[in-house]
Symmetry: C2
Subunit: 483 residues, 2 copies
């Protein structure tokens, strides 16, 4: 294989590459889980003195070179679909940047068919590039769809990422409707593709060298609540794998991104699963999974991103060969594929801001108005999993806010998609429950004791009003007014 450019395309400096970007262009950038995104070209775009109104589409979250620098430069007009930086969030909530939030699994298609945005330039971080191929770095995300859709392609070759990281990659394309073929993946750790993404040679505008590293994750130490949630989840799962025929031989599981998710992954190592294999089928590889692999508690892990701490990166990069036996990175439309999540019978474990008495979940908008990151892949997993668990602390703001509320002012996941709620207080199994039963279980098993009386009072008020979902519409959002 060639992994150096021998003739065309031209090598460009970041500044030269930035000149190839039109002032109002739509940029499709690699990156997922804040890793594997382009860095030096976005910085050069931010530093140029042109008056730009860019649209930036990423597969998932990216780093400060995009969501801080471009925002601060006033160069970002529109942003899809997920971002996790305070700077971009402030700009979106001020109305300075237009934002549109989408589910991860279908984003590539929506770009590819011009439904969401038509890509002018794809800017992709790669380990290596050839005339019609590139090898992604630490995430794959929507890179295959993005290079297929964009008119022009700029590749940032990042030499700080070990070349053998390619051993994780399994890039497979599903073809286009109406002749899209079934995905031939037979097990979560299987491989059906190659290590590279192909593109039309004529689209390649230039290659830029980059030496900027991904900004590593920082996980906080697990709190007492994290540990209590993890214990409750572990106890529930130990009983569930005994009960359900779906888990006779193995438990396939996904956890959401972040410190709580990482802590939950860690706790799974202590679970008594009998002889069952533990398999991860999710979006991101976090440090907790490396621990499980090191301890021999995890058979295989499939994701689209290596979202690790600095320590985790070092550990992985030093032993790529060993980890590559058990870790696979796929494009995000496969890591989050509704049909793969269904076929493998995955248990989804995700967190949220709040859940209401009838099982509706707000995972994105504080008080229904101020967006945080975006829905990400939580919708893909919550909807299609064999079993969907919502794991969250019962309160926020040091106990001043209950995360169990009468009505959420924003809904990302409906009552139809949530099976079980776990807080540090306990577990509410909502399967087959009527709304009244759901409310009672959430109040008694999951809400913090300090809020139970108020929640019971709301439920009684609703019951006097009547209806299948006994809301008292007049006071339903009182907990969110002037919060």
């Amino acid at each position: 294989m060639r992994d150096r450019i021998t003739g065309d395309p031209p090598r460009l400096s970041a500044t030269e590459a930035a000149r190839e970007v039109g002032d109002d262009d739509t940029l499709l950038v690699s990156g997922f889980g804040s890793v594997g995104y382009p860095k030096v070209v976005p910085l050069a775009l931010a530093e140029s003195d042109r008056d730009r109104s860019l649209t930036v589409v990423s597969g998932g979250s990216v780093g400060p070179e995009i969501d801080d620098a471009l925002v601060e430069a006033g160069a970002l007009e529109r942003r899809f679909p997920y971002q996790a930086r305070a700077t971009s969030q402030a700009a979106i909530n001020d109305g300075r940047v237009a934002f549109h939030d989408r589910n991860i699994s279908t984003l590539g298609d929506e770009v590819l068919y011009g439904d969401l945005a038509d890509g002018d330039v794809a800017i992709i971080e790669a380990l290596a590039v050839g005339p019609d191929w590139l090898i992604p770095t630490t995430s794959i995300g929507q890179t295959p769809a993005f290079v297929e859709n964009a008119d022009r392609l700029i590749v940032e070759v990042n030499r700080t990422v070990p070349r053998d990281v390619r051993a994780f990659h399994d890039v497979y394309r599903t073809g286009r409707p109406p002749n899209r073929e079934p995905i031939p993946l037979r097990d979560p750790g299987g491989r059906i593709g190659t290590d590279r993404v192909t593109f039309a040679p004529e689209s390649l505008v230039g290659v830029v060298e980059s030496d900027r590293r991904d900004q590593p994750y920082e996980f906080r130490d697990p709190t007492a609540d994290d540990r209590a949630i993890a214990d409750a989840l572990r106890t529930f799962l130990e009983a569930e794998v005994e009960r359900s025929p779906l888990f006779r031989d193995s438990l396939r599981i996904q956890f959401g991104v972040g410190s709580l998710g990482n802590a939950l992954m860690g706790a799974l190592g202590e679970a008594d699963l009998g002889d069952r294999e533990l398999i991860y089928f999710g979006e991101v590889i976090q440090d907790g999974l490396l621990d499980l692999l090191d301890d021999g508690d995890l058979a295989t892990a499939s994701a689209t991103s290596l979202a690790l701490s600095a320590e985790g990166q070092d550990r992985l990069f030093e032993h790529v060969d060993r980890y590559a036996e058990d870790i696979v990175l796929r494009p995000a439309d496969l890591s989050n594929s509704p049909t793969l999540i269904d076929r493998f019978g995955v248990v989804a474990v995700n967190s949220a801001l709040e859940v209401d008495l009838f099982g509706h979940v707000n995972s994105t908008h504080v008080n229904g108005t101020r967006v945080l990151n975006g829905v990400g892949g939580s919708g893909d997993f919550n909807r299609n999993a064999a079993l969907t668990v919502l794991a969250l602390p019962a309160t926020a703001a040091d106990g001043d806010i209950s995360r169990i509320v009468p009505m959420t002012p924003h809904v990302d996941h409906t009552e139809h998609d949530i099976d079980v709620v776990v807080t540090e207080q306990g577990v509410a199994d909502l399967r087959g429950a009527s709304p009244r039963e759901t409310a009672t279980a959430l109040i008694e098993n999951c809400a913090h004791p300090a809020y139970r009386d108020d929640l019971h009072e709301y439920l009684e008020r609703g019951e006097r009003r009547g209806g299948h979902i006994p809301h008292d519409i007049e006071t339903a959002l009182d907990w969110h007014v002037d919060r």
Copy 2:
């Protein structure tokens, strides 16, 4: 093939069969789109003088023999997941019957794995039955999963349905996670199964003869609003098939159940689709589709139910052979399969009660409290379609209520799932729009003129509050208080 019972299982009268049902049993009944459900055994259950607390699970809506008679007899304690009768709705909204609403596509799995309910007795309407097989009548729904899960099976053989209706059936089973195979269906009209459902011979308790016909649908004549919505949808689709590469050769489409859906189907015959084939991939076959087939405007239709008017039934039953070339009935987990909807690039067209300024849709709960039918398959199609259209009149109650509201008090489909809204006022294309842009487009293109000023005022109030979704939480639900 045998289509008469020759020895065991015993033939039972309906009353004898009802005696085989325990007082607190969970019944899994055939039926979808109010057809193909068991009739004489449920009536006998309602007429018996036992004190029953039954749970009834159906694949979709069923008729008065279940959702009126069992409710009126006080024999129904719990009901999953979709019902469309005034009697059952009243009982659910009064809290007399516990109800839990699920998406159609995964209901069979949820029953099969004991997540929702464990079936004691499956009561299935059939054209014919043998020692380990039965042939469904006018719907397939969740019958395969139900007979697999239930301990005991009672079959109602209905002689009023022509035997050759079996020519429509294509029963295929997907296997169980984690070894569930990809669905090998390659085109919407293809066939991969057989005409029959198999079961464990020892589960068959008895066979009951039935001569009760399905209660046929009654469609109202299209209103002026229906026609205006259909015109707006047709114009939009004519442009969209030209624009999108997904529709180069064909348009695959689904319509929701009901008079509006039926009227929209009809209008599609007048659309100028160039040389493209028109293909239906949805839940139910309604009369409008027969018209399109008769006129040569429709190539093929795939569904799980023949939800026809009396005239439509007569037309179909007289020419089963001719229609069976183009119509296929599948189990509901295939008719509504997320991956098939995705792979075929289906355009979903569904209605709802109301939509809010930011694209969230309430399709089930009047004022957030009183349930109508249930979410049905609308979630399966809205989430997984290549293009999702919400089609509804701008107002209800003779114009007294706007269906475009500041905030819906119940959410079945989120902003992430709705691409385009069509009312008789016009079309709002929400793809790639920020919440502010969504609100403006809905007000100006879709809301009834009488409500535009009030909606603008709400939006301005929200914008003064700020945030990505500019709600004014304090007044967000004012339109729903004491309605």
